[in-house]
């Protein structure tokens, strides 16, 4: 599965479109991480636990998206976009979407 955020896959031509594919995960914060984050919220700095959590979650959303594209019979996803929204206090939705295509 080739994934790209460009209009087309560089160096390849699109032969078939399958439509929009999406993948999302909603993650809540881990309590252990939250205590550290509470401290970091006073002194400032990077919330390393959250950085990892979100990149893991985004990876999961992308896996779901490519699984959907695979089941349609596509071999690539173009024009991938990401969206993040905090649905509730302490939970965030990571959403990835793109267009499933076949390239040659």
């Amino acid at each position: 599965m080739i994934i790209s955020n460009t209009q087309e896959i560089p160096g390849k031509t699109i032969v078939e479109f399958f439509g929009v594919v999406t993948g999302s995960t909603v993650r809540a914060k881990h309590i252990g991480r939250d205590i550290m984050a509470g401290l970091k919220n006073v002194i400032g700095g990077e919330l390393t636990g959250y950085t990892e959590l979100l990149s893991e979650a985004r990876g999961e959303a992308m896996r779901r998206m490519s699984y959907q594209a695979e089941s349609m019979g596509a071999n690539a996803i173009v024009n991938v976009r990401f969206a993040t929204s905090s649905v509730a206090q302490g939970a965030a939705e990571l959403f990835a979407y793109g267009t499933a295509v076949t390239v040659e």
Partner: protein
């Protein structure tokens, strides 16, 4: 015991201010070091490639960072919020985070053997807004992503026009 609750806020403010300054200094120094190396990866926001570039492979790469806003900055911003205007305490913070996210993205591309990233996009998302009284978790995520490519220049088409 009651004076304690009055004393704790200025102490926290001062502590947050000092720690914020220390973290900022250290981070800026670190960023300069990383950027001067920067793995020699070229990142551009354009999507179209010169026609003589033969792309061999591509991959989506990204780098993210979640930063917290320290107590001093949040209080300063909420005071500034009454009068309006630039909230100057946040500007260097977000700039640092963006530079960090770009460096991480370039690092991923380099580790996977690519030296060019096209169509770079940077997104900012407020994760959970802190409560108005300055409590609660406030964090901002910066995500930088783009398509890493490896290419070779086609000699035939780049020669005589």
């Amino acid at each position: 015991m009651e004076f304690l609750s009055y004393a704790i806020t200025p102490v926290m403010l001062l502590g947050a201010w000092i720690s914020g300054r220390i973290i900022e200094r250290r981070h800026l120094k670190n960023l300069l070091l990383l950027e001067s190396g920067s793995h020699g990866v070229l990142a551009v926001t354009i999507e179209d490639l010169p026609p003589d570039w033969q792309v061999e492979s591509c991959e989506l790469v990204m780098g993210n960072v979640v930063i917290s806003l320290d107590y001093f900055k949040r209080v300063a911003a909420s005071i500034k919020g009454i009068f309006g205007g630039n909230i100057r305490v946040f500007e260097p913070l977000l700039e640092r985070a963006r530079r960090e996210a770009l460096i991480r993205m370039k690092g991923v591309a380099h580790a996977h053997g690519y030296d060019t990233i096209i169509n770079v996009r940077i997104e900012t998302a407020a994760l959970a807004r802190g409560r108005s009284d300055g409590k609660g978790i406030a964090g901002v995520e910066i995500l930088a992503f783009g398509t890493a490519i490896s290419y070779s220049k086609d000699q035939r088409s780049s020669g005589t026009p």
